[in-house]
Symmetry: C2
């Protein structure tokens, strides 16, 4: 295709036989020019190697085609997966997504929003850290840039929130666990970084009470985002001091569950739903690795697909000026039965 290098739009316009402003219009929105001229431009695009200078393009445009994607931690395969999904949708719609990871630090999250502002993005998809986030900084950012929150909600901030119906997650799995064995106790961190954890706890309590059981919550120490290690270390301690009151443990999330499974293994406690097992363990999220634990982890799958699709669609609607009022869209989870519970 591209043979000769063309250095600017002026030159390219001359070569394609179209005026520069029209070529400019084409690059802003190919659909805004007549079909016949679009074809001529695209024919020239095949012949010559020209791409508009991205910096010059964005300099005078109030709104760029940039989309920011911010997640708490790309190292967590859950976020990596949903980010990938969102990325693809943005590209498919002609936008330029850029991925940022807060790495679990509120300071860094603010830095990212700061950087992002200078990129003049058309919109941002933000999964906040949660409790640790600098709420006012994020609020200020959302006032300036169309932002859709996902995964973790901050009340009344942003255009919309798209996430999972966390209480439903807990209800669903509590129901399953009670039907198939002893009612579960709930295993979580004392100060969960993520607000979803609170909703899951509430959902657990409610579901237990509705089924006529007494909720039992095991809260363990631990700071930060190294959930597997916290699950292993503190789960191990809890097992040793007999703090786990049921033979069935529902973990606040899969990563804690993965750590707890390791703790069980280290303590020689057999996990599973067969009679020869001492304990059942379930998680929530359907983490990409949940399939490969030993035993494979029974969990609730988040609807990655629906969340990313809806988040992107909501953002694009807002960018196109068709924003509705701020709403909260929650997707239900799906029970994934494996061998751990």
């Amino acid at each position: 295709m591209g043979d000769v290098k063309v250095k600017n739009m002026e030159e390219f316009a001359a070569l394609s036989g179209i005026s520069r402003p029209t070529v400019s219009k084409y690059f802003n929105d190919p659909g805004s020019v007549r079909a016949s001229t679009r074809e001529r431009i695209e024919a020239a695009l095949e012949q010559y190697d020209y791409r508009p200078n991205i910096f010059a393009m964005n300099q005078n445009r109030k709104l760029t085609k940039n989309i920011g994607i911010v997640v708490p931690n790309v190292g967590d395969p859950f976020f990596a997966e949903i980010a990938r999904n969102i990325e693809q949708r943005c590209v498919a719609s002609g936008y330029r997504p850029t991925l940022f990871s807060s790495h679990g630090e509120a300071d860094h999250e603010v830095d990212i929003l700061d950087t992002l502002r200078s990129l003049k993005p058309a919109g941002v998809l933000l999964a906040p850290l949660g409790r640790a986030s600098d709420r006012s900084a994020i609020e200020k950012f959302c006032d300036a840039v169309p932002t859709v929150l996902f995964d973790s909600n901050l009340n009344d901030i942003g255009l919309s929130f798209v996430g999972s119906d966390n209480p439903q997650f807990s209800r669903l799995i509590v129901d399953y666990l009670c039907r198939t064995g002893e009612p579960p106790c709930f295993f979580e961190m004392k100060n969960p970084a993520n607000p979803n954890a609170n909703r899951r706890r509430q959902g657990y309590i409610q579901a237990m009470e509705e089924l006529g059981h007494t909720p039992s919550i095991v809260q363990v120490d631990g700071q930060g985002w190294d959930f597997e290690e916290i699950g292993r270390r503190e789960g191990g301690r809890a097992l040793e001091r007999k703090a786990i009151t049921s033979n069935t443990v529902l973990c606040s999330n899969d990563r804690l569950a993965i750590g707890l499974l390791t703790a069980c293994f280290e303590n020689g406690i057999r996990v599973g739903r067969t009679p020869d097992c001492a304990i059942r363990v379930a998680g929530q999220d359907d983490h990409p690795f949940a399939r490969y634990t030993c035993p494979p982890l029974t969990t609730i799958a988040q609807d990655y697909e629906a969340i990313s699709r809806h988040a992107v669609e909501t953002l694009f609607r807002a960018i196109d000026g068709k924003a509705g009022p701020r709403d909260t869209i929650l997707f239900e989870g799906r029970l994934v039965m494996r061998d751990s519970a």
Copy 2:
């Protein structure tokens, strides 16, 4: 700090009492102006809310402060971790890193390099897909942009390659496994996507022969990057058809090993180094999840730290015009003894 919004450098220069060209110099390199003027500028920076327009800055600069980081797959926690490490080093040196993931697809890898070229980056740190990569496209890119390869080498392409001494990995762990039990067979994919796999196989063969054992290689089918699933499915089949000839299995990488552990569990085969276990399994990489498998995975740790540090330093040296000849820097692995072998 920032109270009044300042719209451009002209205005900011007037407010700070310094001429615009000098302010411009400051933003290019704070160290290039006299200490006293630097202080005056920084004082003004505290008082007023001004940040240079990033698009205008980069438009006329031949070299920007952008650094591209490209990994095959951010969903793999190994790459997520090394990317985070590299990112931090770039920021610390005053550069603006941007993370891209090829998502395992060569087309996407080329698209990323294409996008990257229009970002006029000062340099790029690239972990290629490997065998699947479009070699000529990458070569062309490297001719235009200072690029350091890491993790996976493409001969003679780029400024330098920084990675692990893969044959040493295999030698180290083969030695350990032979000292502590039956000599291992080698478990890998038939057509490994990553060239490191070949070097690990070679290292295995050499180490076995040096120790007077006959190498035994188990190659299984499987395409793509879903290594855990391949390890589980094909590992399970290999176990069933008794293709695993030793009671000790060295996997080409941790992700395959994680899948194989699941397969062992599914088939009721006890893994570990105690007498009551039927099989020992070891991996290579020290994947972030290797600590949490059941049993925890014995493996060889890549030196993340050294690799990312050296890759970044090599790139910066080249950017500063102090590039040496193309060299290949390999770091040794460290044996991490856990319970699986």
